[in-house]
């Protein structure tokens, strides 16, 4: 009971024989009960393994995870890559330009400067350092401001009198407020660093003149209800002193 073709059973069951050999073996099975029985058992075993072996099924979430991790990234052509890069660069450049060239600290308005001036006028202590001597007022700001400036040396016959100075803040930026008097009018001269506060405010309030200019990295503003020629004159003195 040892058919010499019995070792071919596995090939036959697994469909690994050439077509002609397969047919020949099928004919052999009709005459060989030994091989026929072995084939049947192998087929039964194969079927049993197939049914039992298909035991685990991939859960839907695994499909989702795998699909996500292998999903093709949207292809972007070179043209669009360059276009996107150029557009991004231009946008950043424009934003930077807008940022650096924004007007007058964007919030230094006439109203704010006038408010500071009026507060000074209404205050019982309009200035923190009281002196008509610029050599007293100027050193007072040492250590209080991250910059320096020079008040003008006023001649004896000058219509202007220095009353003193105080520390002010506009938009978190520290600055100096020098207070001058011309006849019965007071003039506030605000001085900030131009990088913090800059730009020309609009020409004037209904009752006050607001004058602004930049010089040596500093931003000057002048607020007063004095006559315009007085502001022009004091401005000239300030500009001369800080040249």
């Amino acid at each position: 009971m040892n058919c010499e073709l019995r070792e071919k059973v596995g090939l036959y069951v697994d469909g690994e024989m050439e077509s002609a050999a397969q047919q020949a073996f099928a004919i052999h099975l009709q005459n060989c009960t030994e091989c026929a029985a072995t084939v049947m058992e192998q087929q039964e075993l194969k079927k049993a393994v197939r049914l039992a072996g298909k035991r685990f099924h991939a859960p839907p979430e695994l499909y989702a995870v795998v699909r996500k991790q292998i999903a093709p990234k949207p292809a972007i052509g070179h043209f669009w890559q360059w276009t996107t890069a150029a557009a991004t660069f231009m946008l950043l450049f424009a934003l930077a330009f807008i940022w650096y060239s924004r007007p007058a600290g964007s919030g230094v308005t006439v109203a704010e400067l006038v408010d500071q001036h009026v507060t000074m006028l209404a205050s019982a202590n309009p200035v923190d350092v009281i002196s008509s001597d610029m050599h007293t007022v100027k050193p007072w700001y040492q250590g209080k401001l991250p910059f320096t400036f020079t008040p003008p040396e006023l001649a004896k016959d000058s219509p202007f009198t220095l009353l003193g100075g105080k520390l002010v803040y506009v938009h978190h930026a520290p600055g100096a407020e020098l207070v001058y008097q011309v006849r019965q009018h007071k003039i506030s001269v605000f001085i900030f660093q131009a990088r913090d506060v800059r730009g020309e405010p609009s020409t004037g309030d209904q009752n006050f003149i607001v004058n602004g200019w930049q010089q040596n990295g500093l931003q000057f503003y002048m607020v007063t209800d004095a006559a315009k020629e007085n502001t022009e004159r004091l401005r000239a003195l300030m500009e001369e002193a800080n040249r």
Binding site: E7, D14, E41, V49, L51, A52, F56, L62, Q69, P72
Partner: protein
């Protein structure tokens, strides 16, 4: 079972977009194979994910004439073998491989009856009892219905080795079933 095989000539010009189309249909089979190898669904899940990532990465170097399904199973198997569990299994369950001749079943009609009586759980236990080298070959042949050549590519062994391992694996499964259902019954049927 439907197979995903890329025949010669079909692979030229393949792009990553094609990968999903080719690989996802294999996911269920790969997961089943992974579960049998790992014996742990969580580990199998990680193994499948890693397989897909590796395959996607290597898809660019996929060569014409390569059997895609065999290639995927090969990646999974190699990934498993280098995993902690795979290394442990390899070190602890190496068994002798016998020749094809020894493993051919003898004519035993009563055993055929026992095989027919074997329920799913028993056959699953029989498969689980196999060492990895036999388990993987019988899974690929009988569940994935791969041809010997395809299995040889997946396992990176000669076709002759596939044949001998498969015969040996089937013999062990049959013996497991027979032993479980009782030698006495077999003897009784024989007498």
């Amino acid at each position: 079972m439907a197979t995903t095989v890329i025949v010669r000539g079909d692979v030229s010009g393949l792009k990553n977009n094609d990968f999903e189309k080719l690989a996802v249909p294999l996911l269920d089979g790969l997961y089943n194979f992974a579960c049998w190898l790992c014996g742990n669904p969580d580990e199998a899940r990680d193994l499948v994910q890693e397989t897909f990532l590796k395959a996607l990465k290597g898809f660019g170097s996929f060569r014409e004439g390569t059997n895609f399904r065999a290639w995927m199973f090969r990646i999974l198997r190699n990934t498993f073998l280098t995993s902690k569990t795979g290394l442990e299994r390899r070190n602890t369950t190496q068994q002798d491989e016998e020749g094809f001749e020894d493993s051919v079943v003898s004519i035993d009609t009563p055993e055929l009856a026992l095989v027919r009586r074997a329920d799913t759980l028993l056959v699953q236990s029989a498969i689980a009892s196999l060492s990895p080298v036999f388990k993987e070959v019988i899974l690929l042949a009988d569940i994935e219905e791969m041809k010997y050549q395809e299995i040889a590519e997946a396992l990176d062994v000669p076709t002759g080795t596939v044949m001998s391992r498969l015969a040996r694996a089937r013999k062990q499964v049959r013996e497991y079933i027979v032993n479980a259902l009782g030698e006495k019954k077999v003897a009784g049927i024989r007498s």
